[in-house]
């Protein structure tokens, strides 16, 4: 038991690693602040493109999102980070992570929005249009708010996934929370810093995970 505590919950090691980990946490927050809004906006574009009147736009969007949904996010990140330099482009780790995860998040958010928009009856469209709203106005002020509310649990739960996704940025040496913790781990030969990082993720995401469970149970009931 003592051995376990000294290897996984070592307070001395944790105290030493704390400044590094705190900086990592800040970078994780920065990454989330970039990728979540970009993904939400990209997802909306995807959902709109899937409803376009132009068949080629619908088709290419479907193929693209299917490909993006089939690729593991880590593979996509590595493809972009190690592949682009061969084409003469050298994205910084931050940029590569933003591109990869925005693409990934957009395709998942896009599917969620799509389900939401489908769940709003055509009567809502017709009623909104009959009051003199343009199609765009009907979408943004009548359909979209209802759609978003209908799929709120999915939107929140996908956002949890995006936050967890940012931990993969450590693989391309972006100095976010997990990278910082793993650096401290390799210096101290002790897993406590990573346990500490796990604790921080838990602290931030646990309330949201609880919320998702409650929202889902309410919808199901």
């Amino acid at each position: 038991m003592d051995l376990f505590v000294s290897q996984f919950l070592n307070l001395d090691v944790m105290r030493q690693a704390w400044p590094l980990i705190l900086r990592g946490l800040g970078m994780t927050a920065l990454l989330c602040a970039a990728v979540i809004p970009l993904g939400l906006a990209g997802g909306l574009l995807v959902a709109l493109a899937r409803r376009s009147r132009r068949a080629w736009l619908r088709g290419t969007t479907k193929i693209l999102t299917d490909v993006l949904r089939a690729l593991p996010p880590l593979a996509l990140l590595i493809l972009i980070y190690s592949g682009l330099p061969f084409a003469g482009l050298r994205p910084s780790p931050f940029l590569a992570v933003c591109i990869a995860f925005t693409l990934n998040a957009s395709s998942f958010y896009g599917e969620i929005y799509r389900a939401g928009i489908d769940s709003v009856g055509t009567g809502q469209w017709e009623a909104a249009r009959s009051t003199g709203l343009t199609e765009f106005q009907a979408f943004t002020s009548v359909v979209l708010p209802q759609a978003a509310r209908n799929v709120l649990p999915d939107l929140v739960s996908n956002t949890v996934e995006v936050v967890k996704l940012t931990s993969l940025a450590s693989v391309v040496s972006f100095t976010e929370l997990l990278y910082a913790a793993d650096m401290a781990r390799s210096v101290t030969y002790n897993a406590s810093p990573i346990v500490m990082a796990a604790g921080l993720y838990l602290l931030i995401l646990w309330p949201v995970v609880r919320l998702v469970s409650r929202l889902e149970h309410r919808v199901a009931a």
Partner: protein
């Protein structure tokens, strides 16, 4: 050499593709092995936990909820690194493959428990009452009346989540499991050419697009026509 030639040379080099495809094919094999193992143990464990939770034994349920929440909230790569680098220090040495399988199974178990539990809760109480009144025991009711209905409701989220977690087999590359992207990275380092990366992308599509299609079919097959 034109730009197009240079592009083909760097990204779609047939000679290199021929040389590296056995490595990538091996990677595909490892990816499929881990994925199948994770799906089998993860779903079985998740079902067992949801089943236990239905008995509503307070301390046990509190424990299940805490465990499930931890594995849902902490990124899988974090758990993989703790297990891979931490366990040997307390005398437990597992192979990278075993760590990947174990961690992803626990993550899938956590998510599937939560989804199945939501399914169990959504079966109407009248179903319980009717089943018990015909003389079925609690366990029989759960197994033969409630769970089949819960499953049906749980299928769409369950297939989505299962696929998302099997795609996390790529995380094994970080601890040296020789799956697809790991093999490709090694080949890129050796050849100094991006072709193996393209092959890895295609390999993932070959593995996962049929899985996505199958999931879509399962969802349609079990969909309830709700008026």
């Amino acid at each position: 050499m034109t730009d197009l030639d240079r592009f083909v040379e760097t990204f779609l080099n047939p000679a290199l593709a021929q040389k590296t495809w056995p490595a990538i094919a091996n990677g595909v094999l490892v990816t499929v092995e881990v994925a199948l193992a994770v799906v089998a143990t993860g779903l079985a464990l998740g079902l067992a936990l949801a089943y236990l939770r239905a008995y509503r034994i307070r301390p046990l349920n509190a424990l299940i909820i805490v465990l499930v929440d931890v594995f849902r909230a902490v990124p899988p790569l974090v758990i993989i690194l703790i297990a891979y680098f931490g366990l040997p220090n307390v005398g437990v040495t597992l192979s990278a493959f075993a760590v990947l399988w174990l961690v992803l199974s626990l993550v899938l178990a956590a998510f599937s428990e939560e989804i199945l539990w939501a399914g169990i809760l959504s079966v109407r109480k009248g179903q319980w009452d009717a089943a018990r009144s015909t003389g079925l025991t609690f366990g029989e009711t759960l197994r033969t009346v409630i769970l089949p209905q819960a499953f049906r409701l749980a299928i769409p989220p369950l297939t989505n989540r299962t696929i998302a977690i099997t795609k996390n087999t790529a995380l094994g590359s970080v601890i040296g499991v020789a799956e697809i992207i790991n093999q490709a990275q090694t080949a890129v380092a050796v050849t100094g050419n991006a072709t193996p990366l393209m092959m890895a992308a295609v390999a993932y599509l070959l593995v996962f697009i049929p899985v996505l299609a199958l999931a879509g079919r399962i969802e349609r097959r079990f969909a309830w026509n709700r008026a």
